[in-house]
Amino acid sequence: MFRLAGKTMVVIGGSRGVGRRVAEYSARQGAQVLAVARREAALRQLAQDLPGIKVLALDATLPNAPSKVFEVLVPDILVLSGGAIPMAAPLHEQSWQDFTVNWESDVKIAFHFCKTALSRPLPAGSSVILIASSAALAGSPLTGGYAGAKRTQMLIASYSQKESDRLGLGLQFVVLAPGIMPETEFGKLAVDGYARYIGMSTKDFIRAMASPPTQSDVANAVVELAADAYQSKGKMFIVTEKGLERASLCEW
């Protein structure tokens, strides 16, 4: 059974990491997928590897990015997975530019796309799935402003859901908060950084992590939520290797 048959999906940050996996799994479940990213080479590779997927190269942090994307495809499901890779260094060794990189990328993308989803608006029944991070709950002392930026993404989803409900737009905003995925480019960097910081080998550090999710776990979670987003609207989920777990963020 194709769980996303007949659905259109846009994946921001679809050329690498977990976004690429989401694009792949969703296409396999019958969705018509448009992968959006900045780097053309990575997109060309994706289009070559997975011929059913359409690609669009643009900078998703620009204010007009959402309207450009929606000109190409109006999604039933919009997945926001794009963002920057922060520098791994303790607070006193970061520059303000290092510290603010995820605000200027991850938060900006969430802001522009959620704002446009509300003001355009996207058709009733559409869902926006934000991939944040469990760092937003626990903090992450070696990655500058990353945890605050991810927390802000969650708040953007929460505010957007409230606004959609108030205006009767019928949109669903859902947040996924995966833990560190040691296999991604960012996950590798984070795991290396923390292991070095506490004087452990990377291998031991990963072994000590409580059920770290894989990119596949997260992509499966997105498919599951996308197939039945109404049930999940305004909610947040943590992803572990065991699957989805409803998170209780007190303000949600």
Binding site: H92, W96, H112, S119, G139, T152, Y159
Partner: protein, 250 residues
Amino acid sequence: METLEKQNILIIGGSRGLGLGVVEAFAARHSNVTVVARDEARLADLKARLGVSVIAGDATDPALADSVLRQVRPSVLLLNAGATPAMAPLHKQTWESFSRNWDTDVKATFHWVQAALNAPLAPGSRVLVSSSGAAIEGSPLSGGYAGAKRMIWLMAAYANGVSNDLNLGIRFQALLVRQIVGATELGHAAAEAYARRKGVSTGAFLAGFGKPLAPRDYGEFVVTALTDPKFESAQAFAIRGETGIQPLDA
């Protein structure tokens, strides 16, 4: 700290609002208070009225943070500088208005915390940063305010980690006012917007928080946090007019 008398206290953003209440509370205890703020007229008034030292400058300027810390050598640094958020729902914000508190409150806190660690301040020094109850409850009409305030709370935790690693003995603590304060410019603007959204009067909305928090009372609570040993090790405090100051577990 047993007494605040003759202690060097540096307050960033102390010319109005809650920060002014703190300046008054310390001045009343004969601390050596230095206030950094942008508004020169307000600073001149503060100097004349309370006899505190004043420095006019932009709290988000890293060079200012380094030079003032070197000059003042404070045993208490209170970071209170921040912007009044643009009050509007998310889709009526611009990126610039949404980011205002990140670009001001977070940036200023970042530079002063870094300067405190790199100077470094003397062992036993206390650095108080201004988070907010919004960091817990969210603030849907204030753009990126709640996220920025969450970041400031996290930064206190990160800075304590650095202080421990480097054996600096500096303690960072976050202050969270868990009610909207009608007496400040920021609080009044927020109360008006949320009251309008709820369809109630600003007065009725503010009454929902119980006993109002006067800026001077806030100052007294901050004094308590510094002088009562039971507040020495907490990483964050919740402050309300009704219940005063309490340690808060993250």
